[in-house]
Structures are given as C-alpha cells and as structure tokens.
Amino acid sequence: MKSVRLGAFVIMSVAAAAFGQTLQAAEDVAAQDTPLDAGGSITVTWQASPDEAGGKAQVIAYEVWRATRAAGDYKRLGEVEPGKGSYEFTDEKAENGVEYFYKVRARGEKMSTDAAPAGPVKATAEWFYPDRLNMLVASVLLAAFVLYYISQARAGKELFIRRIAGLEAVQEAVGRATEMGKPVLYVPGIADIDDIQTIAAVTILGRVATMIAEYDAALLVPCSRSLVMSTAQEVVKEAYLEAGRPDAYRRENIRYLTDDQFGYVAGVDGIMLREKPAANFYLGTFYAESLILAETGHSIGAIQIAGTAMPSQLPFFIAACDYTLIGEELFAASAYLSREPRLLGSLIGQDLGKVIILIFIIAGVVTAFLAQFGFELFGRSIALEQLFVVK
C-alpha cells in the first residue's frame, strides 16, 4: 500500500515540475533529541510553508523523511496534516547514538518541495528530570529526617510519642475477646500487598498477633488477596513464635476468600455472623465495604477498631467503630505498638517533615499575601508556589 502511494506521488511530482509551478518549503526545520525520555526518540519541528495560508499551491501534508547521511537515501517516516502553523513530529524509532538527518517535505496537490535537511542529531537517554528537582529535594530531606532520628533512636535516645487512643484500646479489645472466649477478627483491607496501607496493616497484624498469642485468644484473618494471605501467614506465624506459642498458630485461620470486593464482604459478614468475634480490626485500604463491615460488626456487639488513610472511608469508620486511626496514625501504629526504638525514630522524622511543611505553608501564605502589593525579593516576584510544581 505504502509503495503504491509513493509511486503515485513520484509521478505527480514530476508532472507538476513540468508545469513549472512552485510550492514553498516548510520553514525553520529543526531536529533535536526528545527531551526527558529513555532515548530512542527524536523530535522534528517546523513552521508552516508560506503557501499554506492562502498561497498559490495548497499543502496537503507535511512528510517527514529520515536518513543517516545529509545527502543519503531518505526514508519516509510519516506525515502530519497541515493547518496548525507550527508542527511537531516525534520519531520513536531512532536508535540511540546514531546520527540522523531529517527532511520535511511539503506535499501539494501537484508537486512537493523539500526543506533543507536538519541534523545531524542523536537520540540519547537523559539521566535527570530537571523539573523534578523539587521532588528530589523533598525525598532526600524526608529520608534524611527519618534516617537521622532512626540513628538517634539506635543510639539510645529517649523518644516521646503522644497517646493514640485507638492503639491504647487494642489491648483492651484483645483482652475482652479472651475473657469472652470469642475470636478476634482482623481484616487487612482489600488492596493487594503492593499498597503501602496493606503493608502497614500486615505489620500491625504482627504486633496484634503477638498480643493475641500471649492472651491465648483465637485469631481470624480473612484476606481478599492471595499475596496478602501469604504475607499474613508468615507474619502471624512469626508473632506466635515470638510469643513462645508456636503450637497455637492455626494456618487455616488465615484464609483467602475471593479477590472480588463484594464477594469478600459477603464472606466476611458471614464469618462475623457465625463466629461472633468479640473484637474486630479493620486496618488498611478500604473502599465502600468499610461501612458494611463496621455495621455488621456492630450488630454482633464486637468492639471495633479501624484505621485507614482513605479519606473517603474515614467518616464511616468514625461513625460505626469504637476507635478509628485517622490517616497517618495508621502508619504510626506499628511503631507505637512495638515501641521499637528504630520505628519510633522514623515517626519523629515524619514529625520534623511536618514542621517543615507547616513552615512552608505559613511562609507561602505570607508571600502570597505580600505578592498582591507587588513585593519582590531578589528582583523576582515572590511566589513560593513555584517551588511545588512537579512536571
């Protein structure tokens, strides 16, 4: 198909030349390595042929041709429709390190004209997004804060963490279940293990499971993802071992139901109605199922502790559960329950991050206010917001 069209075009071009008409070429043709990519791509840009806007001859299309020598045999890569004024074409099939030349051909009805070739140009992979410097600074700073306080904690520095009511209640809930001789139900959310909230939930499960093993209550963990189930089994086994009760570990109590959101909810509701747990934990990523679980849990009289960073589901847990860990508190829970210095240290690092953010917010608000009166700093208008644009 392509070769047929090409053949037809050669004939037309010859015919037009014979009639002595002219078609002006595209202007300002330039080729450069496509910025910020993994290589393998060159961007060709040009301006419209002067004939395009009401000239003698009409431009039907701009064709982009490529060769490895300026005078070499050009191969057609593709074409772009006219009508825009300035054009861009991305050659995605360039090999890294090879020098290329690009020609833009303005194709008219009866003839075509080539612009002078642009090049040589090489495709390369870039090693840094300059626009993302702010993200890099933020990442490095936060990481540094967290690591600094972890090392402080390791060195034996006393670290204070405020009371988190929801976590104080964990022991009470487990104790109650033990007294009543009923199981504890732990729902680690419905996301898979690549979700950090699930990972947080599973690490908290480890701390809770140690407590449960010590109290000798039963623990039920229905999972909606195989990977979560597998991880939960490892974590709970380890917890029972740590508590010196490896015999009490029941692998079959940490079970998979289904990946399906509502199928899973139906299953967990069934477990609640029949096993009648005295304490329910809902920690991790939750979507609509939050309230179905929490209301069913309430109807069987269980004490309920929830925690999620999903802003849309927090209201339901707040309304239907006894205690709710809000957002960041979920991520603090594992550190809080274990009291392990290294984990506590990372919490303090987070707090320092928060202080910096608050300082930025206040400084930004002040400068936004001043900017209205045309205040300038270092000869530039002071707009802190520019620092937070990530491309």
Binding site: W127, I196, T203, S226, M229, P311, E328
Partner: protein
C-alpha cells in the same frame, strides 16, 4: 539468608521504581518490572484458590457446621475458572452470562446494603453527645439537605441575597469547599509522610516482619 536475599530483592525493586521518577533513562526498566508484578499476582491467586478449596473440602469431609453450603462454593469456583479459561471471557460468552446474572446482581446488592447501613449508622452515631459528635452531625445534616432539591424547596423565590448563607445549598457548598478540603488535605499530607517513612523502613529492611521468621 532466607530473609537477607528477599530483602535485597525488595530494595532493588523499590529503588528502581523511585529512581525512574527522576531518571528518564530507567523508564523501560521500570515498566518491565512493573509487568513482572502482574505475573506474580497471577501465580499467587492459585495459592489463594487452593486455600479456599482446601478449607471448604475439609469442611465437607468432616461434616462441619454449614458444610452443604460449601458445595455451591466449590462448584461455582470450578465452573467460573474452567469456563473462563477454556472458552474465553469476552462479551457473549457463557462466562459473561454468568457474570451478568450471578456475580453482578449479588455484587450490586451487597453494595446496595449500604443504603440501609448509612441510615442505621447515622441514627446511632449522630447524637449530640460531645462537641465532636455535634460537628459531625450538623455537617452531615446540612450537606444531606443541600444535596437534594427538596432541601432548598422551602426557600421562597423572594429570599434576599444577603440571607443566602441560611440556605442548605449555599452552606453545603461552603462546607465542602472549605472544611472538607481542609480536612482531606491535612489527611492527605499527613498520610503521605507516613507512607514515605513506611516505604523507607521497608526498603531499608528496618521493617521486615512481612518476611516472617528467621
């Protein structure tokens, strides 16, 4: 060694993904390993399915309470999996029919249970016991009224503009724009710090309980 090498695997995978954000050259590498994860999930689901089947099989064999219900479970699982893998899952297949007339109605009915639970939770929780509960209650009622046409139906057409702040419509928009944005934003920022430090702890092997015992 049973923990160290997996920890290195986790570290390498995570660091590549983080670096890819800053280093364009790593893009295809990162895209590749993200695909690998999909393969791991595909294998893992077999583990889950086996677990589900085993527990229900044991239930039937040992005639535990409610054992007869395990039969439709096992039959349903095999039917769906075999039909889907064997004959495809596109529109118009048996698999699609089963989805439309078995899974979909049950799924959306479980979802719809929320209409009832929203009411019962509101009835129980929205009582003006404390300042917190009162704020929760007032905001919820105002927004609920502002949401539906009937909420502002009592406002007469000649209602003066300077009293607009007394209409549920207006109040709802302000509450959503100001209070809701403020609250959600604080949660988002706070949680992101928690996520960053949790990620770091995992990648650096400080938090490793997910790997189980030594």
């Amino acid at each position: 060694m049973r923990r160290e090498i997996p920890m290195i695997v986790a570290f390498v995978a995570g660091v590549i993904i983080i670096l890819e954000f800053f280093v364009p050259a790593l893009r295809s590498v990162a895209a590749q390993i993200q695909k690998w994860y999909l393969v791991v999930i595909a294998f893992a689901i077999l583990v889950g399915a086996f677990n589900l089947l085993r527990i229900n099989y044991m239930k039937i064999r040992r005639r535990r309470a409610d054992w007869p219900y395990s039969i439709p479970l096992i039959a349903g699982l095999f039917a769906m999996a075999i039909i889907g893998i064997g004959w495809g899952i596109e529109e118009g297949t048996v698999f699609d029919w089963l989805f439309n007339y078995l899974i979909f109605p049950m799924s959306s009915t479980v979802f719809a249970l929320l209409a009832f639970f929203v009411a019962s939770a509101a009835y129980r929780a929205f009582r003006a016991r404390t300042v917190d509960a009162t704020l929760l209650l007032v905001a919820a009622v105002v927004v609920m009224l502002g949401q539906v046409p009937i909420g502002s139906a009592w406002v007469p057409p000649w209602w003066p503009d300077w009293l607009v702040f007394l209409t549920p419509d207006w109040l709802k928009d302000r509450i959503m724009d100001i209070f809701n944005t403020a609250g959600q934003r604080a949660i988002l920022i706070g949680a992101s710090l928690g996520v960053v430090s949790t990620s770091l702890r995992i990648l650096l092997g400080i938090e490793r309980s997910y790997l189980g015992e030594e």
